[in-house]
């Protein structure tokens, strides 16, 4: 049994070592035992062709059906996903009659019993949407999400950056680390835990965790140990 932290680390490893977004989705699906994954980059002005950037593990038969029936205009996930800012369970969607028709059709193509979507926004206000579906039914799905929803939020942002690199060849740099983030990393490098760092810096333990979460995310690392190593190698802190 793989523990939770190892899963996120493995997910980061997949994103780090794979440039092809389709292949990332295949591997993330297998890693978490999901039924399907979909990544959809919002319309960008740079994309002169106005061609939607969508990668998915859905079966080709469903993708053809979806395009043929014009479901993109009906699909409540696509319709709401770029309007919402908070992650959402598909059970929270408002389903009108046309959407209901699509949902019943989708059930024939085995897309999954439950779904969860993560809206992404980056510093340039570019949006994307990462969705996962599962065959788990309600109670098991609730437990699964309680354990992994946070992972999917981070993974969504990492895939977003991969997709931008894929599409435009370059991406914005992550925001620079702030002084508090650097201090917290430095004390971590010296072997201090949250509580000890909090005492040294006169902050609450939760605040220290917040700074370290942010520092780790900016350094694009799954674990704090990796973030410290990366900060040392980038000479942000001394080893």
């Amino acid at each position: 049994m793989v523990n939770k932290r190892d899963l996120l680390e493995a997910a980061y490893g997949i994103v780090d070592s794979t440039d092809d977004v389709q292949s990332i989705l295949d591997q993330i699906r297998d890693l978490y035992g999901l039924h399907h994954c979909v990544f959809h980059l919002g319309q960008t002005k740079v994309d002169a062709l106005d061609r939607p950037y969508v990668k998915t593990t859905y079966p080709d038969t469903w993708i053809s059906r979806y395009l043929l029936k014009g479901y993109v205009n009906v699909d409540p996930v696509a319709r709401e996903g770029f309007l919402r800012m908070l992650p959402f369970d598909w059970r929270d969607l408002e389903i009108d009659e046309t959407a209901m028709e699509m949902m019943m059709d989708a059930a024939q193509y085995d897309i999954g019993a439950n779904g969860y979507s993560v809206p992404v926004i980056d510093r340039s206000a570019r949006r994307s949407l990462f969705s996962v579906t599962s065959q788990l039914t309600d109670t098991a799905w609730d437990e699964f999400l309680a354990a992994h929803a946070g992972d999917f939020q981070e993974i969504a942002h990492r895939i977003h950056r991969k997709a931008l690199a894929d599409l435009h060849g370059d991406i914005d740099p992550m925001p620079p680390l702030g002084p508090r983030e650097i201090e917290c990393l430095m004390w971590t490098a010296r072997g201090k835990d949250y509580a000890a760092i909090a005492e040294i810096l006169g902050l609450s333990g939760h605040t220290v965790r917040g700074y370290l979460k942010s520092a780790r995310f900016k350094l694009e690392c799954a674990t704090l140990a990796q973030a410290v190593a990366k900060a040392v190698s980038l000479k942000i802190i001394s080893g």
Binding site: P87, W90, M104
Partner: protein, 235 residues
């Protein structure tokens, strides 16, 4: 009642949002003298174009606004980073999907006095904070970054909200504007509930409550409609 309005429901709650932009103009421009963009009787800035989630406090009919707050994730453009950049270069430039910024928190004391005479003015902000904490916890937010005037610290204390001040900037309004981190966890929310005696103010999915159940059940893909789908939560 307290509920979130995301861009999916902006149209449905257009009049409440209009009340919010007018309230913000009265509070932040007229009363506090903040350097915020005003157009006629409304205050709106570029961050309102990013499709933020708004926490609204309204009467039970969702027609009169009592208070509001704007929420955006720190992975995207953030007001606080832009505003505080000059004074505190990158200290508050946190960036993580579960760290959000809450801005423009305000209450309409006149409407509250009229519609909720039992709520003392000093308790109104505390109620907003409890609801904000509950809302953040419900949606998996780990930390809130917010700005406030120095006297607001008392209100955070009154609400039992653990607030760590991490920056302060002059020149935005008449008084300095502070920036703080508000920890969201089961423990801190329980602490706020104990201190204020208020609980479960925030109602999930309430922006979409309808008096009639959704026709045909709520969810059809391969599973029976689960209990607690959108409309049932809202009643």
């Amino acid at each position: 009642m307290f509920f979130l309005v995301q861009a999916t429901d902006y149209n449905k709650h257009r009049t409440l949002l209009d009340q919010m932009f007018r309230l913000r103009k009265r509070v932040f421009f007229d009363e506090l003298g903040w350097d915020v963009p005003v157009d006629g009787d409304v205050e709106r800035d570029g961050y309102d174009d990013l499709k933020p989630a708004y926490l609204l406090w309204t009467d039970e009919d969702q027609t009169t606004l009592y208070g509001s707050l704007r929420l955006l994730p720190t992975t995207g453009p953030t007001l606080l980073n832009d505003v505080f950049r000059s004074t505190y270069p990158t200290d508050i430039d946190l960036c993580h999907p579960v760290i959000w910024e809450g801005t423009r928190m305000c209450v309409d004391t006149d409407e509250i006095a009229h519609g909720l005479p039992d709520v003392a003015p000093q308790d109104a902000m505390a109620m907003m904070l409890v609801a904000l904490g509950e809302c953040a916890l419900e949606h998996g937010i780990h930390t809130l970054v917010s700005n406030y005037e120095p006297h607001m610290k008392r209100i955070y204390n009154r609400a039992g909200a653990p607030l760590i001040e991490i920056g302060k900037a002059d020149g935005y309004g008449r008084r300095p504007v502070c920036c703080g981190l508000f920890e969201v966890s089961r423990t801190t929310i329980d602490g706020m509930r104990d201190k204020t005696g208020m609980a479960q103010l925030y109602v999930k999915n309430s922006a979409r409550r309808s008096r009639q159940p959704v026709k045909g059940g709520a969810w059809m893909i391969g599973s029976p409609a689960p209990a607690g789908t959108a409309w049932t939560n809202a009643i």
